[in-house]
């Protein structure tokens, strides 16, 4: 339980688990662990899918190809149900978001102490293994989506169309322009913030509960036994949460982008 050599209180244990491995100072701090795991998992996803796509046959598919195709089909049908235009970006974007976020969330399934303890043995003081519990990761994903929302809004409706959308809705009267602008700006900005915070909050809370349950191992036998049961229960429940969060992020991205394509 005690991860570092020094005496650990429960508070410092939790604190240790929630601290990133960082390089740099101030704003120019890089969360090495988050970046490493997120980029590593993203590359793993792309490599697996790229290989499947390269080997894809139009005949009888292999088991792995079937698995990949099920995911691709699932994403594709989700996109087609919601988005009725032609856009070559949205479907691959949705696939990347879904699988990547799922894989990053899945790091939560690994028992909380394994990887940080291993890192300690290797001389790395801190390791936060779930990238989606890092607000920077979720926000940069959401900001990417936000940029695309604005880009497609302007591309489809033109600058004037986009401005009109911000100023003449929901009240179509010139006197209401300031109110409209305020409302629509909040609506617009709420999109990426809600996307990022929803994912971050769910995963952060989930991770925290794993850590809190793990604290029970430190006390007596009865509590430790209870902790094993709770850990298992939370893990099974969390399988639902991580899949759902990945799906929600993907679905909302599609919905937001299709809204950006709609002309009012």
């Amino acid at each position: 339980m005690s991860a570092t050599g020094e005496e650990m209180t429960q508070q410092s244990y939790i604190q240790h688990h929630l601290t990133n491995l960082t390089v740099g100072e101030g704003f120019w701090t890089w969360n090495i662990d988050s970046l490493l795991f997120s980029v590593g998992l993203g590359m793993l996803f792309l490599w697996l899918f790229y290989r499947a796509g390269k080997k894809a046959t139009t005949g009888v598919p292999g088991k792995f190809q079937c698995f990949v195709e099920i995911i691709v089909e699932f994403v594709d049908s989700s996109v087609k149900e919601t988005f009725h235009g032609r856009n070559p970006v949205i479907a691959p974007l949705a696939l990347t978001i879904f699988v990547w976020i799922f894989m990053m969330n899945f790091m939560d399934m690994i028992p909380v102490d394994w990887l940080p303890s291993l890192a300690l043995l290797a001389g790395v003081p801190y390791l936060k293994v779930v990238p989606t519990t890092d607000v920077n990761i979720t926000f940069s994903l959401a900001l990417g989506v936000f940029v695309l929302i604005i880009y497609y809004s302007i591309k489809v409706k033109g600058v004037s169309g986009f401005v009109k959308e911000l100023t003449f809705q929901p009240f179509n009267h010139w006197a209401m322009i300031p109110v409209n602008l305020l409302l629509e700006t909040v609506t617009l900005v709420a999109k990426p913030i809600s996307l990022a915070l929803r994912l971050f909050g769910n995963l952060y809370a989930g991770e925290l509960i794993f850590i809190l349950i793990a604290l029970m191992y430190g006390s007596n036998v009865a509590l430790s036994a209870l902790g094993v049961g709770l850990q298992l229960g939370w893990l099974i429940f969390h399988i639902l949460v991580i899949t759902l969060q990945a799906f929600i992020f993907m679905m909302l991205t599609i919905v937001y982008l299709s809204m950006a394509h709609e002309d009012h």
Binding site: F27, W28, W30, N31, G42, L46, G53, G59, F139, L143
Partner: protein, 156 residues
């Protein structure tokens, strides 16, 4: 909630990953899926067409069978007719032949009778001459008295 440069790192990774997925992952997978869907659709269409073809072929076969039966019946009927005709012809021919043979036989019988009559007449003449010789006790020279003999023959 401390924002830092990780944001930029992750954004760059995000852009690169989406770009890579769009360029190298999505198209081949989607192509494979769509092509297979087309293949399956074609296969199903082919199967449907084959079933229809089979049905048509069966209907055609039944029709042809019916037609063949009708033709066979016609041929048998014709053959029967022809048989009757041949038998009839043979009968007629046989009757003609019979009549011919009978006529020939009658003619032969007539000839034989005439020949026998002539022979008989000649022999009767000879007998008559022999009788006459006996009566006259004198030889009748057939050369010298041929006129008498011939007269006699004609008379008999």
């Amino acid at each position: 909630m401390n924002f830092n440069a990780t944001l930029f790192g992750q954004t760059v990774a995000f852009i690169l990953f989406v770009w890579f997925c769009m360029k190298f992952v999505w198209p081949p997978l989607m192509n494979a899926i769509e092509e297979r869907q087309k293949k399956i659709a074609d296969g199903l269409a082919d199967a449907g067409r084959a079933a229809k073809d089979l049905e048509l072929a069966q209907i055609k076969a039944t029709e042809q069978l019916k037609e063949a039966k009708v033709t066979a019946n016609e041929i048998i009927e014709q053959a029967n007719k022809r048989k009757a005709q041949i038998v009839e012809e043979a009968k007629v021919e046989a009757q003609t032949e019979r009549a011919k043979i009978i006529a020939q036989g009658q003619a032969e019988i007539e000839n034989e009778r005439n020949r026998v009559k002539d022979d008989l007449r000649k022999q009767v003449a000879l007998l008559a001459i022999a009788g006459a010789e006996k009566i006259l006790e004198r030889t009748i020279d057939p050369e010298a008295h041929s006129d008498i003999v011939n007269k006699l023959v004609a008379e008999i």
